[in-house]
Symmetry: C2
Subunit: 283 residues, 2 copies
């Protein structure tokens, strides 16, 4: 795979490009982006070698579609229309059911592999791209059986080169579980940030009192609304369900405090400490 | 100050001991703890040089009271009873009003300085103690005017040696604001951990899907219930108020999703992105 096209030269697409270039000097990276500043930045940062357009996609060995999930749903069919028969197209979005649905009847469905690399930071854009982002991270692949075997092999070789381990899952299960272990975290963090900013907006000194614990819990509130709004929209039902359960748990905690039942407060925390063992192994 | 007594040889007391020993070889560190395993560990780890009891406190130049905040309230008067006229006693607890109240009429009130170093990790016990924990961290001092000037000076010298910057605040303001920037973070994290564990308890594989974002938001759910239960109890009214506001913000976010008002969801996140600038400078 020598001609790699990155559609959306941001954190994920850009980081993949950096790793691929460092592994193979013969690779040519082409960038496509509606944001021309991002394309210029990506060129200047040597993340991409050339700017390109959809008309060039027939030359692609690999296309990485790394754009917000609403755009992915509308662009993916056009990308498949533009490629050659031997091109592999992967997406890297945080929801998987809508993108799989949008191409289920496409005559090039077998050129596409739906993936979700569980990797990233709270930053976005080409400047956020970093080498080694995918080392030891999980990549979730959906509907693998719908992709041509030869292109599956190419994709697995790439993910292995990037240092990722693979998990297979159907898109419904992906979207349901990812709501708990990723989407809910973002909302809890955004609303924590909102609550504190609202209260303390006139007292900037108060943030001197904030330590690393606060920083850790609100880190995700720096995330891009342009990326996250369509994720919440596409995964609406699952996210609402997780939010409902989270709010109920918070209300119950508050009720225990109001009832002065601190023995039970202790137990709630003790039982959740179990997360220590669960988290072992997450980077 | 050569004879330093640490009551409660855990993360905070232990880390202070390590820094003080590294700065001055002549310092003798004495450990007092109801947990004899912790005392043995602290000796083995060379955090303390000797075990001690309250009867020895009359020899102390400095006593650091680093025990859960409910214990601090009951122990501090006994500590003040046992020291000499020239001993400085500091506490390091996460609530400040109850500890200040408990000694407001004590005849050795002027030997005591109420402090809250905003430093720590989610771990506890002597093994959690680390050198340099306080570098560039904030130490909040309450009711400074109630401490003898000479002992204030000694305390400020110590905090400066540890690398801390000082903020002065009355205990009521401390407890109110710290509920937002610290206590609420812990509850949001514990309840996030609970929500996900409850849902996924039979599907351990799901945690393979969790990335660094989830890890960051649930990190505080590893914290010690023995430390945090009394903090929530002592700061009950302020914590309930913050929880109420947090729950209302989450409910509003959920309502916006149910109403498919994703423009407003975008705005909510965009406005909270402002936390980026606020967090600059927090370690």
């Amino acid at each position: 795979m020598n001609n790699i096209y990155i559609i959306g030269v941001g954190l994920i697409g850009g980081s993949m490009a950096l790793d691929m270039k460092s592994m193979d000097a013969n690779i040519d990276i082409f960038g496509i982006d509606t944001n021309s500043d991002h394309l210029d930045e990506a060129l200047a940062l040597q993340i991409i070698d050339h700017k390109a357009t959809y008309e060039d996609l027939h030359n692609a060995d690999l296309v990485i579609l790394s754009i917000p999930v609403d755009k992915a749903v509308s662009e993916l069919p056009k990308v498949l229309d533009a490629i050659s028969d031997s091109t592999l197209v992967i997406d890297v979005g945080s929801t998987k059911l809508p993108v799989c649905k949008t191409v289920e009847s496409h005559n090039r469905r077998r050129n596409f592999l739906a993936t979700h690399p569980i990797a990233g930071t709270e930053f976005s854009g080409p400047k956020a791209a970093i080498q080694g982002l995918f080392q030891k991270k999980t990549n979730i692949i959906c509907e693998v059986e719908k992709t041509t075997f030869k292109l599956q092999e190419k994709a697995l070789k790439l993910f292995s080169d990037l240092g990722m381990r693979i998990r297979y899952m159907n898109p419904e299960a992906h979207d349901k579980h990812i709501a708990y272990v990723s989407h809910l975290s973002h909302i809890s963090s955004f609303m924590l940030g909102k609550t504190v900013i609202e209260k303390e907006k006139n007292e900037r000194d108060i943030f001197d009192m904030a330590g690393s614990g606060f920083e850790s819990t609100v880190r995700l509130a720096k995330s891009s609304p342009a990326m996250w709004t369509p994720i919440f929209k596409q995964n609406r039902a699952n996210v609402i369900e997780t939010l409902e359960e989270y709010i109920n748990n918070l209300k119950q905690f508050k009720s225990l405090m109001e009832a002065d039942d601190f023995d039970e407060i202790y137990n709630e925390m003790k039982n959740t400490n179990h997360i220590k063992e669960i988290l072992k192994g997450i980077a």
